[in-house]
């Protein structure tokens, strides 16, 4: 069984974790083009090197960041997202309506 070091819970079996994709900047969905959004959602470098990625410890509901090599599968580092994201990212959740709702 492969062991991953969870920043919150310590060493746990890899089967307790869920992979969450590469860490990449999210464009503003209200202002970016369709192509930019597609790039963000579907495209990735997917190369052979150390990548920074999101992981989720399912039993404790905790998201964190790991640095892992995509060929050797060696996990070099895991840390709390606060080390990378030091301020809250606000997304305008209510885009301007172009039309008045009809009700």
């Amino acid at each position: 069984m492969k062991i991953m070091h969870c920043p919150l819970n310590g060493p746990r079996n890899i089967s307790e974790f869920v992979y969450g994709g590469e860490v990449k900047p999210m464009p503003n969905p209200h202002t970016c083009s369709d192509k930019e959004w597609a790039e963000y959602v579907f495209y990735s470098d997917n190369t052979i090197r150390i990548i920074t990625e999101w992981w989720y410890h399912a039993p404790s509901g905790y998201w964190f960041i790991a640095e892992r090599h995509t060929a050797s599968d060696e996990i070099l580092k895991t840390y709390d997202p606060s080390e990378r994201f030091d301020q809250r990212i606000e997304f305008d959740s209510k885009p301007e309506l172009t039309q008045e709702p009809s009700i």
Binding site: I14, A38, F42, Y43, S44, N46, T70, A71
Partner: protein
């Protein structure tokens, strides 16, 4: 054939001394009309159809390892066309039809064996999707039926009808489902292509793609540089890595896919049996071994190692389906790395670079499409980049306009 076999039986020495399957290696030429990166089934099939139908023979297949040593050698050889979308079914149906004629065409036995594929439904939602797949498949001329538990019992008497406490409600019975010897498919195409003048260069790794003014003009390899009229990329698990050499980013993620095989036992299972709820499919080979396959690994990786986790979960499901198999011994286990798209359909056709054509995103389901990929990629090349209708829906830019071809439900654990 039988006469030559008889003569062979009576001879003292090997009669085919000068009739070797593949020509000996030669030096790389400076220029080819077409360079194909990747000597798997897809690459050699493309070369074969280019030479056979289009008379294009100044072609080099560049393979970093050996012929068919990638996923072509690692797959579990499920051939079927019972997909969900009309784009998918039309395409795979034509591939199954081509497969049926390959042994004759090659004069070489690819051991095509039409045994039927049975997919199990354990929920009402799956039964509904099976109805749709039956209709779509039948519409395009495939042979698929929805069958009930009684018929399933008659078809596969050894199957546990209540595996993992998930009663089997219905089955998708795909009469066209088949297998073939995957190595033989690669060898047959390679032999046919090289006999017509195509060069197959093994141990030749493409290390860079030369792009000038948005046009692909050649490749760099560990054996020197080669210029060319156009390039076809068919490298499966390495799709993103090779495309990046041409400056192309792809909507692909590479995951390992593992499979395993037991010691041989007496024949008892004719159809291929699969359950996506159990993430498992089971089939018996012509030699009597039981082959198990399932879903991809849970996270991306370029590595063909095996894991205990997968062995445990896959074998638990296999034993639920066929409890007596608990006494069998595993003989071999292996993995391939697969280039997965998010809609479980391939990426075929043009790329952002001129004269650079893509045959990628074949993930866990591309063996069955080997003949039709070869045929359509050859058409694409021969017609100077005019995309054949059959593959137009699989263009890479479908992701940019959110027009995916969703085959996830029809692929997940069946390949």
């Amino acid at each position: 054939m039988p006469f030559s076999l008889l003569k062979y039986g009576l001879k003292n020495d090997y009669p085919f001394e000068n009739d070797v399957d593949l020509p000996s290696p030669t030096a790389l030429k400076k220029h080819y009309d077409v360079v194909i990166i990747g000597g798997g089934g897809h690459g050699v099939a493309t070369a074969y159809y280019l030479a056979k139908y289009h008379g294009i023979t100044n072609v080099a297949i560049l393979e970093k390892g050996y012929l068919g040593g990638g996923n072509t050698a690692r797959n579990t050889a499920v051939i079927r066309s019972n997909y969900l979308t009309s784009e998918g079914v039309k395409f795979y149906k034509e591939s199954v039809d081509l497969f049926k004629g390959l042994s004759n065409e090659f004069d070489f036995n690819i051991m095509y064996s039409s045994r039927g594929q049975l997919t199990l439904a354990h929920t009402e939602a799956t039964v509904r999707s099976f109805r749709q797949r039956t209709e779509v498949n039948t519409h395009f001329g495939g042979k698929t039926e929805l069958i009930d538990p009684q018929q399933i019992k008659e078809l596969v008497p050894t199957l546990n009808m209540n595996p993992a406490d998930m009663p089997i409600l219905a089955g998708l019975w795909h009469i066209d489902g088949a297998t073939a010897r995957h190595d033989a498919v690669a060898w047959g195409y390679a032999k046919g292509a090289t006999q017509r003048g195509v060069e197959l260069h093994q141990l030749t790794e493409v290390t860079d793609v030369i792009v000038e003014n948005g046009k692909a003009t050649g490749v760099k390899t560990n054996r020197g540089n080669v210029s060319c009229g156009c390039i076809v990329q068919a490298v499966a698990g390495h799709s993103s890595v090779v495309a990046a050499m041409a400056g192309i980013k792809m909507p692909i993620t590479t995951y390992p896919l593992q499979a395993m095989v037991t010691q041989p036992v007496k024949p008892f299972l004719n159809p291929l049996v699969s359950s996506s709820a159990l993430h498992c499919y089971v089939q018996q080979t012509g030699r009597g071994e039981m082959v198990f396959g399932g879903g991809s690994d849970p996270y991306p990786l370029y590595n063909t190692r095996s894991t205990m986790d997968l062995k445990e979960s896959l074998l638990a499901s296999a034993v639920e389906m066929f409890p007596f198999m608990a006494n069998l011994k595993l003989m071999r286990q292996w993995a391939g790395i697969t280039d997965m798209t998010s809609d479980y359909s391939p990426i075929m056709g043009l790329s952002p670079v001129e004269n650079y054509y893509l045959d990628a995103g074949w993930g866990t389901w591309g063996f069955k499409s080997t003949p039709i990929c070869g045929k359509t990629m050859a058409q694409l090349v021969a017609n100077g980049g005019k995309v054949p209708d059959l593959i137009a829906p699989f263009a890479m830019d479908r992701f940019d306009v959110f027009r995916q071809v969703n085959e996830m439900g029809a692929t997940a654990a069946s390949h």
